[in-house]
């Protein structure tokens, strides 16, 4: 059996009005809070440090330098820096390999002393070319790759080790230098999406 409650229509209208007013107030309050939060975040994003996001994809001695030079310089400028080491570039984070990166004379016409390919293919030529480049680096008093890595880590550069590469190349976690973070593409893209400068090396 239905029970009909009789409410004074005037009272009902009053309640409805009160509820509407309250809802409007709450909505305005939350909307304003949201707007001011966004404005604050935008202001912070503009005034915060610049960010550099690099991809290091090569594992030869000559190609290890550009990302490390850019990263350490950006850090010295007060920027946030992250480097994603992927494929052969992961060797730069490999504690067993990073001190022994080599430069091949084969198919490399840019060597200051040009080496014909048929000579460059002879065993021992890569070691020779690497020795020559190390000599030029020392003469110019350039820091070594391990030295630059240390400067990078000391100045807060984030080193991301590509876990896909680790899986493909069967690289063990213990082979990666301490302080590096294991990361996938999505994590790096998220990091890079807030960078003003992004470069692929």
């Amino acid at each position: 059996m239905a029970v009909e409650t009789v409410i004074d229509p005037a009272l009902e209208a009053r309640i409805e009005e009160l509820v509407n007013t309250k809802v409007q107030e709450l909505f305005q309050e939350q909307f304003q809070a949201l707007v001011s939060q966004q404005t604050r975040q935008q202001a912070e994003a503009k005034s915060g440090p610049k960010r550099l996001a690099l991809v290091a994809s090569k594992g030869t001695l000559d190609m290890a330098y550009p990302p490390l030079i850019l990263a350490t310089t950006a850090a010295a400028l007060g920027w946030e820096v992250g480097i994603f080491f992927t494929f052969y570039g992961l060797d730069i984070l490999n504690r067993r390999k990073l001190s022994h990166l080599q430069v091949p004379p084969l198919a490399n016409p840019a060597m200051p002393v040009p080496v014909p390919n048929f000579i460059g293919a002879i065993p021992g030529m890569t070691a020779m070319a690497t020795g020559m480049m190390r000599g030029w680096m020392n003469r110019a008093r350039m820091p070594s790759v391990p030295d630059l890595l240390k400067v990078a880590q000391d100045s807060g550069v984030q080193l991301f080790a590509c876990t896909t590469t680790m899986g493909v190349m069967r690289t063990k976690k213990e082979d990666i230098i301490e302080g590096a973070r294991f990361a996938g593409a999505a994590m790096f893209l998220d990091y890079a999406s807030e960078a003003q400068v992004t470069l692929f090396v």
Binding site: T73, A75, A76, L77, A140, R141, V151
Partner: protein, 80 residues
Amino acid sequence: MAAPFVAEKTLDCQGTFCPVPIIQAHQAAAGMTPGQVLEVIATDPGSQGDFVAFAKNTGHELLHADEEGGVYRYYLRIAG
């Protein structure tokens, strides 16, 4: 040429190339107090643009820069 500014610290980067002068200047500046003057001597021609950018990005004031016989001198007032 006489130094146009009295520097609290002098950094000799002659014979080194990018990124060494900037990294060393950054490390030297970190150990100094705001308002002090850092003098950097360099021979890398790229340092001319690099130290302008360094000052712009870090807030250290590039008071003076000059070149004499391939030797560049920079005077930076350390930011607060």
